[in-house]
């Protein structure tokens, strides 16, 4: 292809990628180093609020913003360097807690708590989702052709459910005396509170994520299974390979590129876990990095928000995902090179 044609094809998409991905990233990166604040003054202010029958007025020292002549709030932006990063990861407290071996205290620092959950969430659901997807694909591939359509349809259903709605439905099944909790209490004859401690909520979240994404892995693997070389399979049967050996030595190697693909997508998706935290309202016990960014950006009642720390947190989240994807990307890149040679 001529370079000019190539450029004409790629140019618009490069431009849009720059505009919508690179530029915002740079902006977020820079925002992590600056803090914009209102200018405040401390003055005596008399405030009157309703009581019963009469009003209560109090005069006290209050901090209030300074207004410019045109009625706009005066703000100033200053360079703070890595302060937002250190406010976020709190190195002193983290090291002190770790030094004394107090894991539970270390886990009360939001960033580390979020990182711990995000990592376990990602790494535990990965093999489960890939394994479940493969198992369903193999099972469906071996069912009678006549009922295959309906079976595929049913297996796909969890994938179609909107993530937040799915999480909420599972939460309602288990919260308080929800149907499932009531059933478990009846079956096990003991009092169960699924939302009273972290690990039960966490396992519900893991279960929900696997339930939700396994169908995607299934569809991809099922398509892959249709392209397995039948001759190889037949010769394996003649060689006396068992069902398991055929799966292990013929099918899985054939599906390997798809497994890498699914793992890549899954890592990227589950590292930005967010819906589960909101859906299960788990923030007392479990939070994720993405949720932490959201929380820092949400204004409180008085309108305060921490844009700088939120930017720092998103940059660190991005660094994390790059580290996590690195081995898989390296592998894909090597395969790609090999294919060329």
């Amino acid at each position: 292809m001529k370079f000019k044609t190539f450029a004409a094809f790629v140019g618009p998409s490069l431009f849009l990628m720059f505009l919508f991905i690179a530029a915002p990233l740079v902006s977020v990166f820079l925002q992590g180093f600056y803090v914009t604040q209102q200018v405040f003054e401390t003055v005596d202010v008399e405030t009157c609020t309703p009581g019963f029958v009469t009003q209560t007025c109090v005069t006290e020292m209050k901090t209030r913003p300074v207004f410019d002549n045109d009625g706009k709030v005066r703000t100033e932006t200053k360079f703070v360097g890595l302060e937002s990063y250190s406010n976020l990861i709190q190195p002193d407290r983290a090291l002190a807690a770790l030094g004394e071996g107090k894991w539970s205290e270390f886990m009360t620092i939001d960033f580390w708590r979020a990182l711990r959950f995000t990592l376990t969430f990602t790494l535990i659901t990965l093999p489960l989702a890939v394994g479940m997807g493969l198992a369903i694909a193999v099972a469906v591939n071996n069912t009678l052709r006549a009922i295959r359509g309906p079976v595929i349809f049913v297996s796909l259903l969890p994938f179609i459910v909107t993530p937040v709605i799915g999480a909420l439905s599972i939460r309602w099944l288990f919260i308080g005396d929800g149907i499932m909790t009531a059933f478990l209490e009846w079956a096990l004859d003991r009092d169960i509170a699924m939302f009273a401690q972290g690990w039960t909520i966490e396992s519900l979240m893991l279960f929900y994520r696997v339930w939700h994404v396994a169908p995607f892995a299934f569809v991809v693997f099922y398509a892959g299974l249709q392209t397995v070389n039948q001759d190889t399979l037949e010769s394996a049967i003649i060689d006396g390979a068992s069902r398991w050996e055929r799966l292990r030595f013929v099918v899985i190697p054939h599906l390997m590129p798809l497994i890498v693909f699914i793992s890549l997508i899954h890592l990227m998706d589950s590292y930005r876990v967010f819906e589960e935290v909101v859906g299960f309202s788990s923030q007392a016990h479990r939070i994720s990095l993405q949720w932490l960014t959201y929380d820092l950006l949400t204004p409180d009642d008085s309108g305060n928000r921490s844009i700088s720390r939120a930017s720092a947190n998103s940059m660190l989240t991005m660094v994390g995902i790059v580290i996590l994807l690195y081995p898989l990307l390296l592998r894909t890149w090597r395969d790609h090179r090999k294919g060329r040679l």
Binding site: F40, V45, F52, V53, T63, S104, G303, N304
Partner: protein, 405 residues
Amino acid sequence: MKLRTLALAGAMTMAMTSAAVADCAFRNDVPLKSLTAGFEAWKAVTEAMAECGNFQAELDQEFRTKQPAAFAADPALYHIGGVANATLVPLLNEGTIRPLDDLVARYGQNLTPNQLIKVDGQVVAVAMMVNTQHLMYRADILDDLGIAVPATYDEVLAAAEKIRAAGVVEYPLGATFKTGWNLGEDFINTYLGFGGAFFGAGNQPAINNDQGVATLELMKRLTEYMDPEYLVSDSTYVQQQFQQGKIAMANLWASRAGAMDDAGESQVVGKVMMASAPAAVAGGRPASTLWWDGIVIASNITDQEAEAAFRVAMEGLDRQMVQANNDVAVWLVDGFAPGRLSEGAIDTATAGAVSYPAGPTMGLMHTALGNNVADFLTGAKDARTTLRDIEAEYLTAAREAGLVQ
């Protein structure tokens, strides 16, 4: 709070057209819009405003996230805003609402002086109702067990012990202990009940003291009598626990009182009574804070629009509206006849509960409390460490905001 954002993703947007122009003293011909919270009282008020015509109300429980930006626009996206103590702060700080003194003088003849919210001598908002967390209890259970209505938290704990021993309900106590805003609010109520102060000179935090420890310990003792899932329990959850007869006592918002007698939802109609919020120490003030809800008028609109908006708002806050919706809220408007459901709120206020100390620093403190108190309740940290970490989180945020040098 956040869950509600999503649950109400579509938001309850009610468009009320000017088809029926009734019961309004004048005919409004300036198109007006309002943004308020979505609970019953606001429904009643905005419906009364709509009677004047050309008025569109937006009722949204997440108004607090929309309001500052919508009012900062020029021209403002709404003319009338519904606010409470805390949500007034961002609007005041951005200078997006106008002083109402002139308008009150011209059109506010029916207002009582008690309704005028003044900052630095200027009227900035007009209050319509008060809300506070106070004791709700199952009168039938307390009578059966011969327990007097608890006036202090020690008595609450003693009563809870008796109720648990009798085994008449699943959990003796309920509480709005959901992590975040709710839990922070409960700490603030109790801490003020112990007579604590939140800030020292220069906006430095000052909660790491004996009152702070006492507050945390009291909260932890209360949780022993609650549903173990208390950290996800918000007002609606506690209300439902009451309605389903699962709990016997709770310190719950006055605005939820009406739901106890709603025969469509409640199994305990007429059995729940209201009393003043318990005191943290015997003889002390009730461990609760007073909140008001009211209206503000945007500053980025024309004077003509502001005048029309204020007149329409006054129609919404008039006698007829209150008489038609007497039990919906504890109204401050003239014509309100206090009933059984409002006794608790009135007792709490007359017994000396303080107003919620709203302000920019309090917003940050509230957030830090809401995020960290749970660590003590779950046992991850001891009381002193928890308080120290809350102060540290507050300081970080306050430095970022420029409130502490």
